[in-house]
Symmetry: D2
Subunit: 137 residues, 4 copies
Amino acid sequence: MIDAATLAEFLRREFPQSRCTVESVDAEGVWMAHPVGEAELRPGGTVSGPVMMTLADVALYGAVLARVGLEPLAVTTNLSIHFLRKPSAAARVLARCRLIKLGRRLAVGEVWIYSEGEDDPVAHATGTYALPGSSSR
Amino acid sequence: MIDAATLAEFLRREFPQSRCTVESVDAEGVWMAHPVGEAELRPGGTVSGPVMMTLADVALYGAVLARVGLEPLAVTTNLSIHFLRKPSAAARVLARCRLIKLGRRLAVGEVWIYSEGEDDPVAHATGTYALPGSSSR
Amino acid sequence: MIDAATLAEFLRREFPQSRCTVESVDAEGVWMAHPVGEAELRPGGTVSGPVMMTLADVALYGAVLARVGLEPLAVTTNLSIHFLRKPSAAARVLARCRLIKLGRRLAVGEVWIYSEGEDDPVAHATGTYALPGSSSR
Amino acid sequence: MIDAATLAEFLRREFPQSRCTVESVDAEGVWMAHPVGEAELRPGGTVSGPVMMTLADVALYGAVLARVGLEPLAVTTNLSIHFLRKPSAAARVLARCRLIKLGRRLAVGEVWIYSEGEDDPVAHATGTYALPGSSSR
């Protein structure tokens, strides 16, 4: 298993444009976060959907890498997200991703997204990653 | 129906952080685009998944607004995307979104994403928007 | 909250062709089951995908009804399922559905499907139900 | 490419419980159908969701087989469906499935479902199939 600092450093190289941070890594998955500021808000004070999708995708990627090793060739094959509640404009968004299947060629993960400090999730995503050897894209 | 210039101006206000542009609006839907530069690439020269998800979400939003009017309260309830091929690192990504259902409370759209100048799509998305009056988030 | 016997009786009337049974109802959701026999198997001894999709759809419906009352007009607007492992040919399939959002117009639920007696899920689904008043279909 | 009669015979063996029929096979995909009678209806005269999901799954399978050959080991890894309109109680449901990606390990297809004789689709699905060699289930 990759530790949080190693994963964080790898993601900074892989997704240099991403502002996602690795909060922790454990045997079941990862916690990641995204800051929320002017750039992440829509009128009405909602965190924009693309910010949550970005966080979900990176969290899935992080959870896969934490288990299979730092493999830049793993690619998302699909991602599906439900937006459940309006996130807070005044808190970071946190993502908890757990892998629910890790096969030789495909990994499937589940992501719950929260406004930091609140119990009810703001979004739920599932996604599939193709592991190297697979011609997924 | 809203014209392209009006939609573009509205989106600049709504998603000021977005770099998506409105290419055209017609009776069936919209064409939108996203530039591809350093910030949109992953190692290996692939356009990052979040860029395509962002474009898909904004294109769905644009297609809904073009039909129902400039309604900032429409919100995505879910979005599902399949990544099909590796996009070109040297071309913009274009999205064609058509509404496949427009009910009183829900709109459903389909999005095909292409690397500009190529025929085969790089991604396919579907998404649902809740129209005002609905407590979708 | 509707109890299991009341829900079971309602579903027998609504989905008379369905062989799904209500196992239990609690504050968070429902457990339902589907028998597995010759009619549910594919060559190779796998439970067919449609059986699991049917169970997921009915479990979502049951979880919604258990909370909002016996409302035949609730309709599925979308359902997404990931198949994770090969189910046993020799056991019933069980579904645990929990609602993850219950709004005025939309309900979203999550379903885990298991082969009875095993810990690892064989499928995971999410789905959205439009509640009456909404023109979802 | 497999012809319609050969595909139909194979599906009768693979999904003996299925009532889906192969209408045609062409270079882009397949047309399949499902009869609608008492067993397929819900109160209110709607074709049940599971019938449409079953048809979508079998149509995806048929479209994959028509291109890669009669391969009983291809398995669905995920399927996502949007229900768009209330289907007619008095007509068969037809599915048009086209493959939108055919890689070495994964195939992705799109399915439109119609009530026979009507132009507007009643449902839209996308699904992924893992091709043999891949440990998808």
